[in-house]
């Protein structure tokens, strides 16, 4: 299901002018600093605001077309919106909150589906509670379930983790990953945190001052050394090939990674993240070294800032290593040079 968004709107303080398409189901991150217009975009998609000009189509269903005079009101758009502040109805139990959207959806209520979502989000023991008696993380999960159960065509998440502390974030992230992997829903995920985006997104739309600054797949955008998103070394889609005594072997297109044992079945797809700071470069294959992962690669691009960002390629997979400028000079790094990437640590995002 593709989502097409083209909107222009003049606010008092800034102008929004964005156009992008999200081609497939999966998570599209709207990434950018606060004030970039991320929330304005999803508000327009949800029908909570009415842009001056534009066209929005969700899976071919036109919900806004200012030229044709089409404006489908929010209640008929079938968007599941998870707000940053969860916005649970305080006068209803958790269960009534969860069922609120489902009762108003144009399909009969499916008890199995409700049960499934309640179980998936770990809400079984909370159903009778009043939302006021929930922790921040629990509220977030209920809000997620409520949006999901309204049987939407698209899920809109407005920084659902921003109001939570680190521990609560870790509590919700696995649920978001499960949601991403188990449902076929397109999801728009608003965030200004690189970590979250690298962990969850397939596609990234970078917004800056009300405009689209860049768009691409997470694998591409996070490994660009210019015009992308800095601060991340690489995101790789891998599959668990085998488990050793205390290590698991992950394969990706052009290599293998050895990581501390992952508690998932062989064959499971897991996403791993490498930080640019955690990748060292060598011109000769190092021996007798504690690092488990040494990947042969070729330098594909370089950029000198305060430090040197070296983009290296292994077939289609790309990584970015951040080294000092002195090291880059000493190693005589240049595009085309053969190197070995020594990966000091790998972040494995295994849900569940």
């Amino acid at each position: 299901m593709s989502v097409e968004v083209r909107i222009r709107h003049r606010f008092k303080t800034f102008a929004l002018d964005v156009a992008f398409e999200a081609e497939r189901a999966g998570v599209t991150a709207l990434f950018g600093p606060s004030g970039a217009g991320k929330t304005s975009v999803i508000n327009a998609i949800a029908g909570l605001s009415r842009p001056d000009e534009g066209r929005i189509a969700i899976g071919g269903r036109v919900v806004l077309d200012t030229e044709a005079g089409i404006f489908v009101p929010a209640r008929a758009r079938r968007t599941g919106y998870v707000f940053q502040d969860s916005r649970l109805f305080p006068h209803m139990s958790v269960e009534d909150n969860l069922r609120f959207g489902r009762r108003r959806a144009p399909f009969p209520v499916d008890e199995h589906e409700i049960e499934h979502v309640v179980e998936m989000l770990g809400l079984t023991h909370l159903l009778e509670r009043n939302p006021r008696a929930l922790s921040g993380g629990e509220k977030g999960r209920v809000a997620l379930g409520r949006a999901l159960l309204s049987s939407p065509d698209i899920l809109l998440l407005d920084e659902p983790l921003a109001a939570l502390d680190a521990a609560r974030r870790q509590e919700i992230l696995p649920y978001l990953e499960r949601l991403r992997d188990e449902t076929k829903l397109p999801m728009f995920y608003v965030s200004h945190a690189v970590d979250e985006v690298a962990r969850l997104a397939h596609e990234i739309v970078v917004l800056r001052e009300g405009r689209v600054a860049a768009q691409g797949s997470v694998f591409d955008l996070l490994t660009r050394i210019e015009g992308g998103i800095e601060g991340m070394g690489a995101v790789l889609d891998t599959r668990i090939e085998s488990h050793g005594e205390d290590l698991s072997v992950l394969v990706f297109d052009h290599g293998r990674l050895y990581v501390p044992r992952v508690q998932r079945d062989v064959g499971t797809r897991v996403r791993v993240r490498l930080r640019a700071e955690d990748i060292m470069l060598a011109r000769e294959e190092p021996r007798a070294i504690s690092a488990n992962n040494i990947l042969p690669a070729t330098v594909s691009a370089m950029r000198y800032g305060a430090q040197a960002d070296i983009q290296i390629a292994m077939g289609a997979a790309r990584l970015v290593a951040r080294v000092t400028r002195a090291s880059a000079k000493r190693l005589e790094l240049a595009p085309g040079a053969h190197v070995f990437a020594i990966v000091k640590s790998v972040i494995v995002d295994a849900a569940g």
Binding site: A74, A76, T79, Y81, F83, R87, F89, P90, H91, S150
Partner: protein, 232 residues
């Protein structure tokens, strides 16, 4: 009719005045409630030219002399002409010299109390919840019934109780519009006034005043409790 709980405290006339007061206030306040909710919604949720004037008119009974209100009602609803004559002729409804007229007066006088409390509750509601309900497929009537009004309930309760308490004390407008007929329009304040007109009626007036004070205290405490619940 006697009050079963205090047969020895009150004379039959006094009990009658008390019961009539409660009935007049009850009917008046609850008849006005739907209109008060509508007016509060209008003021809290919409924008239109002349809103400030409408706001002023709704609050007029707060500042107008009650006698003037009674006089206006008499002009409009008196049976000799105008609306009053029309109602009597076609529907057999007569407000003057009737307890229903007293109820109507109390509805009008206490209307601003209700509107204010309900409006405050509506304005204090989180607009984000309304947005959430919209994205979940709820239309405006759905949201009104299942979200807006339940959330404003403490404000509505506070408004009703305050209005009820204020209504029990209404004197000038009632006596001007529906006169002072024992058993029909002689509410507590009118009974106190009547007692004071008679030689030796001070004791009766004092007893009735004490009842008024007790009632007022009870209702104001209830209203405050409702307001507190709303703030939480």
């Amino acid at each position: 009719m006697t009050l079963w709980c205090m047969p020895d405290l009150l004379t039959p006339d006094e009990a009658q005045a008390l019961l009539l007061s409660l009935r007049v206030s009850f009917v008046g306040v609850f008849a006005a409630l739907p209109f008060a909710v509508a007016a509060a919604l209008l003021l809290a949720r919409t924008r239109f030219p002349g809103k400030i004037v409408v706001d002023g008119i709704i609050h007029l009974p707060l500042v107008l002399p009650p006698v003037a209100i009674g006089f206006l009602l008499l002009i409009v609803l008196g049976t000799r002409a105008g609306l009053g004559a029309f109602l009597l002729q076609h529907f057999g409804i007569r407000f003057v010299f009737s307890w229903t007229g007293a109820a109507l007066t109390s509805a009008l006088i206490t209307f601003p109390f209700q509107v204010r409390a309900i409006r405050l509750a509506l304005e204090g509601a989180d607009p984000g919840l309304d947005e959430a309900a919209r994205t979940l497929g709820a239309g405006w009537l759905d949201r009104l019934v299942n979200l807006t009004l339940p959330l404003a309930l403490p404000g509505i309760v506070a408004g009703v109780i305050t209005a009820f308490a204020a209504s029990l004390g209404e004197f000038g407008a009632i006596i001007t519009f529906v006169s002072n007929i024992p058993g029909e329009t002689r509410t507590l304040p009118l009974a106190i006034y009547s007692a004071l007109q008679e030689p030796g009626g001070e004791a009766e007036a004092a007893r009735l005043s004490l009842i008024s004070i007790a009632l007022a205290l009870i209702f104001m405490t209830l209203a405050e409790a409702a307001q507190r619940k709303m703030r939480r």
